[in-house]
Every structure is written in structure tokens, then in C-alpha cells.
């Protein structure tokens, strides 16, 4: 797809693509997605595909557009151009008679339910207890019974190692504990896609391990699709099966963790990896 900055339409066309089996529907597909803030172009005609059950880590210098990708998938922001598909269905916009049409809020709302996100700053609701945080959306969004939601919440708290914190207030917990609750809150919605946005960046170094351990466990025991932005390269190596290196809104290199971390081909990837390690 030729654009002004890419007249031959070569950049961003093949990178990010994956081989799909016949009839396979990918979990996430970006088609020529553009995101601009005013005159600042963050994503410039991005294409990439994430297969179901994939764990894809996005790495790259800050400002390279990684977090923007997660925010677009979560519909926290709208793309400026292009299309995003979740499980083959359009997320926010469709093409109709050559025009880009925005989809209704109600439709987005339904799409959104299939996606969960864990934030850098946890964003737990301080006006609710830990348990209330976890059951809030299952009860009031998905319409589950309160009893079921509570049972599940206790299971999840067990899973994240906080079985005795159900009645606690988020603000009385440490950062690491808050993030574990946030992970439980996300899982309580049974998302098909989990977005992890620098989930350890706001944590003290000594508690990073416990949070990553829980995520490793989730990756090992479920088939949820994960899209991860992180600066923890060891975590990316352990959990993901694909790594995409971003710079200036483009994929500059991609491959398995072994390929990217042990044998990077691109100069920018090499420079980035030596800077963060």
C-alpha cells in the first residue's frame, strides 16, 4: 500500500504478517492502521497479525507506538485510518463503499467485552474493596450472579497469591499486590485477549518477580491470547512465542524470542537491546 512516506508500499507490508492455516481466523489483525495525534504520526500504516493463543511481545524505544497499539485494541483511543479486526470481526471501523465508517457504540461495547487490559498504574477502583473490584464487571457488565462472581473471585485471588486480601482496600496494598489484584480483575472477565501494558514498570524491583511469575503461570495454563508491552526482556523471552521490534511506528524486525534476542539482524534492534540490557 503506497503512502507518501513509502511510495513503493514496501515498508510494513510483509513484516508483521504470519502464515495462517486454511480458514484460520487470527485473534488480532491490523490493516494499514494509522494513528496521529495532531500532526504527530505515531503509527503509519501498520499491518500485523496475531494468531489465537499467541503471546506477542512488543519491544522498542519509548514513543515507538507500542502502547498505542494496546490502547487501540482496548478502544481507549480510535485509529486515524485503517482497520482492526478481532477474531475476524471489525473492532471500531468498517470499510463500506470505499469509505471508512465508524461502528456504533453498542457494537464496540460488545467487542470490548472480549478484551481485557492490565495497566502500568494498576487503576484499581479505590472506592471498592479488592473483592468488589474483581466482581464489579462480571456482575454488572456480564450479568453473572453475585454468588458465582464471588466464588470465581476467590479462586482468582488464590491464583494470584492473595487469598486473604478480599476485604482489603486497594490503597492498603503494596504496588505488587495491587497489580496482582488488577490481573485477577482482568481474568474475571474471561477475556479472549489480554493486553499487558508495562505491568511491572511502576513496581519496586523486588516485587517484579512475583507479578511476572503469576503471568508466566497464566501463560502456561491458559490459551488466552496475550499482547505484551514490557521492558523485561527475560519475561518476554520466557512467555512469548513472537517478538516484534518497533521503531517510529513501524515493525523493524520480528521473530521468535531466540531470533530477536540472540541473533538480531537489524541495527536498530541491536542498539535497542544493548541499551536495555
Amino acid at each position: 500500500m503506497p503512502t507518501e512516506s513509502d511510495p513503493l508500499g514496501e515498508l510494513g507490508l510483509h513484516t508483521g504478517a504470519v502464515e495462517l492455516a486454511d480458514g484460520e481466523i487470527p485473534a488480532i489483525r491490523f490493516e494499514n492502521v494509522v494513528k496521529q495525534y495532531g500532526s504527530n504520526t505515531v503509527l503509519d500504516g501498520l499491518n500485523f497479525t496475531v494468531r489465537k493463543g499467541d503471546r506477542v511481545t512488543l519491544i522498542g524505544p519509548s514513543g515507538s507506538g507500542k502502547t498505542t497499539i494496546l490502547r487501540l485494541v482496548m478502544t481507549l483511543e480510535d485509529s486515524t485510518d485503517g482497520y482492526i479486526f478481532i477474531d475476524g470481526q471489525p473492532l471500531t471501523h468498517i470499510e463500506k463503499d470505499g469509505r471508512r465508517i465508524v461502528l456504533k457504540d453498542k457494537y464496540r461495547f460488545e467487542m470490548r467485552k472480549r478484551i481485557g487490559m492490565v495497566f502500568q498504574q494498576f487503576n484499581l477502583f479505590p472506592n471498592m474493596t479488592v473483592l468488589e473490584n474483581i466482581i464489579e464487571a462480571p456482575v454488572h457488565v456480564l450479568g453473572h450472579s453475585k454468588a458465582d462472581a464471588i466464588t470465581r473471585a476467590h479462586e482468582l485471588l488464590e491464583q494470584v497469591g492473595l487469598p486473604d486480601k478480599a476485604k482489603a482496600h486497594p490503597t492498603s496494598l503494596s504496588g505488587g499486590q495491587q497489580q496482582r489484584v488488577a490481573i485477577a480483575r482482568c481474568l474475571a472477565m474471561d477475556p479472549e485477549i489480554m493486553l499487558l501494558d508495562e505491568v511491572t514498570s511502576a513496581l519496586d524491583p523486588e516485587v517484579v518477580g512475583e507479578v511476572l511469575g503469576i503471568l508466566r503461570n497464566i501463560a502456561a495454563t491458559t490459551d488466552v491470547t496475550m499482547l505484551i508491552v514490557t521492558h523485561e526482556m527475560q519475561f518476554a523471552r520466557d512467555v512469548s512465542n513472537r517478538v516484534l521490534m518497533f521503531d517510529a511506528g513501524r515493525i523493524v524486525e520480528e521473530g521468535s524470542p531466540a531470533e530477536i534476542f540472540d541473533n538480531p539482524q537489524e541495527e536498530r534492534t541491536q542498539a535497542f537491546l544493548s541499551a536495555v540490557s
Binding site: 481507549l76 461495547f109 470490548r112 495497566f119 477502583f125 479505590p126 472506592n127 464489579e136 490503597t171 492498603s172
Partner: protein, 236 residues
């Protein structure tokens, strides 16, 4: 001086009547103001341009055109043709105070809602909450704790504002002490008046303080509240 206290004793029933009127106007006006403040404050941040514009015009109108003008308009103009609306002075006072301080309160409500951290809004989106759920269950409870100190300031302003209603024939506390001045002395009468107002203000402030503590306790400890500037632009 002992004569003065004797006179005060004679005046006591009337003073209590006046006090009742002042308290009625304060509480009634405040309740009306809170309803108006929340309504207009929420309306002032909807996406719809017309609704938002309507809210802005109403807010700026009642903030910008002096309380006394509003009271006089309601009192003198409404009973005349073509309106022919005869409201009792007390109702005029309640409506005037409610609208005026409600408009100030609307800015407090809007400001508090806007200062709930962005991450909280994003978390509600990530959990697929609807707009109503988001506001009722997550944003407003947090904004509420932020707005109480400013609403407290407005409540004291409202109480002080009630003292002007005797100019539209309401026999409030100030009206009674105006009368008592003639039978005692200026110093005696108005000193007591000021003391009574001060005590009411103090009690109201204390109650609002309790309300604030309850609201912040619900948010747990360690939450740092940004103080929203009150209607006059200052946190106190």
C-alpha cells in the same frame, strides 16, 4: 445591660422563629443547589453540543448575575403580568438561593469529575462498563470525596447569603435582630446575631467535615486528594 437580656428573653420566641427560617432556607436552598449542581455539572460535560451549551449558559447566567438581582427578579417581576406567578417569599428565597449556589456548585461537580485520574476512566473501559455504570459506580463516588470541601465552602456562603432575604420581606434571623436593635442597642443585637450565624456555620462545617472523612475513608488510606478550588477560586 440586664435590661438588654430581659429584652432578649422577650425576643427569644421570635428569634427562634427567625432562626428556623434561616435554617430552612439554608438546608432547603442547599438541597436544591446540590440537585441543580449535579444536574448541571453532569450536563456540562456531555458530548452533545446543544445540551452542554445549555448547561454552560445556565451556569454562567446564574453565576454572573448577582444573587440579589435574581431574588429581586423572582420577587418583583414574577407576580406582574404577563407572568402572574405569585410565589411566597420563602419559595422565592429557596429558588433564588438554590439556583445561584447550584450554578457555582455545578462548576465544583464538573471540576471534581474531571479530576478523577484518567486511569480510572480507562479501567472502566477495559472492563466494558457502560457510561452510566462508570459514572455511578466508579467516577462519582471518587469525585464526591473531592468535591465535599468546596461544597462546604459554598454551604457557608449560602448561609451567609440568606441574610439578604429580609429585603424581600422574609422574616429571617437578621430581620428579627434588626427589630431588636431598636429595643436594645446596635452592639448588643448584632453581636448576638453574628454569634448565632457563626455557631450555625461552625456546626455545618463540622458536619461537612464528618461527611468528608467518611467519603475519604471509603477510598481507603493513602489517597491524596487534590483540593478543588471552590466557587471563588480558592481552597480553604
Amino acid at each position: 445591660m440586664s435590661d438588654y437580656f430581659e429584652t432578649l428573653g422577650r425576643y427569644l420566641p421570635r428569634i427562634l422563629d427567625g432562626l428556623l427560617i434561616t435554617v430552612e432556607l439554608t438546608i432547603g436552598g442547599a438541597l436544591l443547589a446540590v440537585v441543580i449542581a449535579i444536574g448541571l455539572g453532569l450536563l456540562a460535560r456531555v458530548e452533545n453540543f446543544l445540551l452542554r451549551g445549555f448547561a454552560r449558559v445556565v451556569i454562567e447566567f446564574f453565576r454572573g448575575t448577582s444573587l440579589v438581582v435574581q431574588l429581586f427578579f423572582l420577587f418583583f417581576v414574577l407576580p406582574l403580568p404577563p407572568f402572574n406567578v405569585n410565589l411566597s417569599p420563602i419559595v422565592v428565597g429557596l429558588i433564588g438561593l438554590g439556583l445561584n449556589y447550584g450554578a457555582y456548585g455545578a462548576e465544583v461537580v464538573r471540576g471534581s469529575i474531571n479530576s478523577v485520574p484518567k486511569g480510572q476512566w480507562e479501567a472502566t473501559t477495559a472492563l466494558s462498563m457502560s457510561n452510566v455504570q462508570r459514572m455511578v459506580r466508579v467516577i462519582f463516588p471518587q469525585a464526591w470525596a473531592l468535591m465535599i470541601p468546596s461544597l462546604n465552602n459554598l454551604l457557608i456562603q449560602l448561609l451567609k447569603g440568606t441574610a439578604v432575604v429580609y429585603t424581600i420581606t422574609i422574616v429571617d434571623m437578621t430581620a428579627i435582630f434588626n427589630d431588636m436593635r431598636r429595643d436594645t442597642s446596635v452592639f448588643f443585637s448584632y453581636t448576638i446575631a453574628l454569634l448565632v450565624y457563626f455557631v450555625i456555620a461552625y456546626v455545618l462545617s463540622t458536619l461537612m467535615g464528618l461527611l468528608e472523612r467518611r467519603a475519604t475513608a471509603k477510598l481507603g488510606r493513602g489517597i491524596k486528594l487534590h483540593v478543588i478550588p471552590d466557587a471563588k477560586g480558592v481552597a480553604t
